[in-house]
Symmetry: C2
Subunit: 255 residues, 2 copies
């Protein structure tokens, strides 16, 4: 049985302000929660149906509440509640600037759409990119929609928030890391030589990469549409930010 204060506490975590105050976030569903239970993420509480509790191994340190489906509906942020809701500790990641040498790192310049950020985190996980550095104005990685669309990858990828100009400037002057960014005038990514280390900057959904950050890009690249190869096809003006990220990461990794 859920108490009123439990319901209001869990619902409060849908707001960034309360997530930050309590350093907690929510994940839901029979696919993602078991992944988090098996990860480095500390799961504090699990609110689940008897079926879920019977079929999953849950450490004794996790507080558990057996609830009915109609109770789950009252705390769920999903269109259709799915067996379990977990309250988890927000991990604290320290961005070790030196550790980025020899690696690829994604840099997100004001990604605002939760689904896009979640999908980008999942892409990073697929392509073995450990760190994502976001501008301070980007959507919160522990927003519930982000968490859900990472499909569990939120447990493995470190997402940091900072001033991009300071961060990129520091990386350039201290480690001479190349800074890649997709810009209209960039060189064809399909034929360009790509490094196995560096920063890959992805711009905001509507305005692209901001002017200040553009100035710091050392290697301008461009994903050519089919109209560049053959006239008559490929008229879309742009690609969704997550789609562009996947094509760029795929090109970096296939070499």
């Amino acid at each position: 049985m859920l108490s009123k204060s439990q319901i209001s506490f869990i619902n409060s975590l849908k707001q960034k302000k309360y997530r930050e105050e309590h350093r907690l976030f929510i994940a839901e569903g029979a696919k993602i929660v078991p992944e988090l239970l098996n990860s480095a993420i500390v799961v504090k509480q699990v609110y689940a149906t008897s079926d879920f509790l019977r079929n999953n191994v849950i450490l004794a340190t996790v507080e558990r509440f057996e609830i009915k489906e109609n109770e789950l509906e009252r705390i769920s942020g999903l269109t259709k509640a799915n067996e379990v809701l977990a309250v988890c500790e927000t991990p604290k990641y320290v961005l070790d600037n030196e550790s980025l040498k020899g690696k690829l790192t994604l840099v997100l310049d004001d990604i605002k759409d939760p689904g896009n950020l979640g999908t980008i985190i999942r892409i990073a996980d697929w392509f073995g990119i450990e760190n994502i550095v976001c501008s301070s104005e980007s959507v919160d990685a522990f927003n519930q929609k982000v968490v859900q669309s990472t499909m569990g990858s939120i447990a493995r990828i470190k997402v940091h928030y900072t001033s991009l100009t300071e961060f990129i400037g520091f990386q350039i002057s201290n480690f001479k890391l190349p800074v890649y960014g997709a810009l209209l005038e960039g060189k064809n990514i399909y034929s360009e030589k790509l490094s196995s280390e560096g920063l890959i900057v992805i711009g905001n959904e509507s305005r692209g990469i901001s002017e200040e950050v553009q100035k710091l890009i050392t290697d301008k690249i461009s994903i050519l549409s089919f109209s560049h190869f053959k006239s008559g096809g490929g008229e879309a003006e742009s690609l969704n930010a997550a789609i562009a990220t996947s094509i760029i990461c795929s090109e970096f990794r296939r070499r």
Copy 2:
């Protein structure tokens, strides 16, 4: 001034049943509607603010209604109404089986998420793929969420619905088109020879490509995650359907 019957008519088009009955669909926003007005899509009505009507060229054949923003809110399906809503004729496309020779065609096996289908339509447009053939159970391409996430590409890409086993079987026996599908046991897409014609099958978000359709795949391919190249990275179990589509299309087109 909007009448009650206008409001209820437009809202009815949010349901597939009424879209099919009237052969009409809805598109919204100052980015997409002007694209549709300039496309082969027949726009029947435009409900717009005075600003939008002043700043856009609209053919005399389009019935127009100047409305206030608070009226637009009452018919809009967006979180935030955006200047204009258009009622458009659903185009009738005939699938000319013979016309697919020499081209790449996307085949979607029960894509259910509107955002995924919209993004896939946008990807097709980017990569110059004219036709998308969907299983009958796939989400409707004229669902408003699909239309919005195509960002205007809905005006250029022909989306067909049919039985996939019949369609693919017919293509194989009559035109010997290769049928590509991403499967776990597939060959590395990054090194495999890829044709410039054929069908590319994308599976459902949770269960992948159905068994019956798998039997018809002639060329099994696989997008390798980073863990295949280097141990220790790349632990995501799968890629989102639209992301997989973008990586596959990018690989076909870069050759």
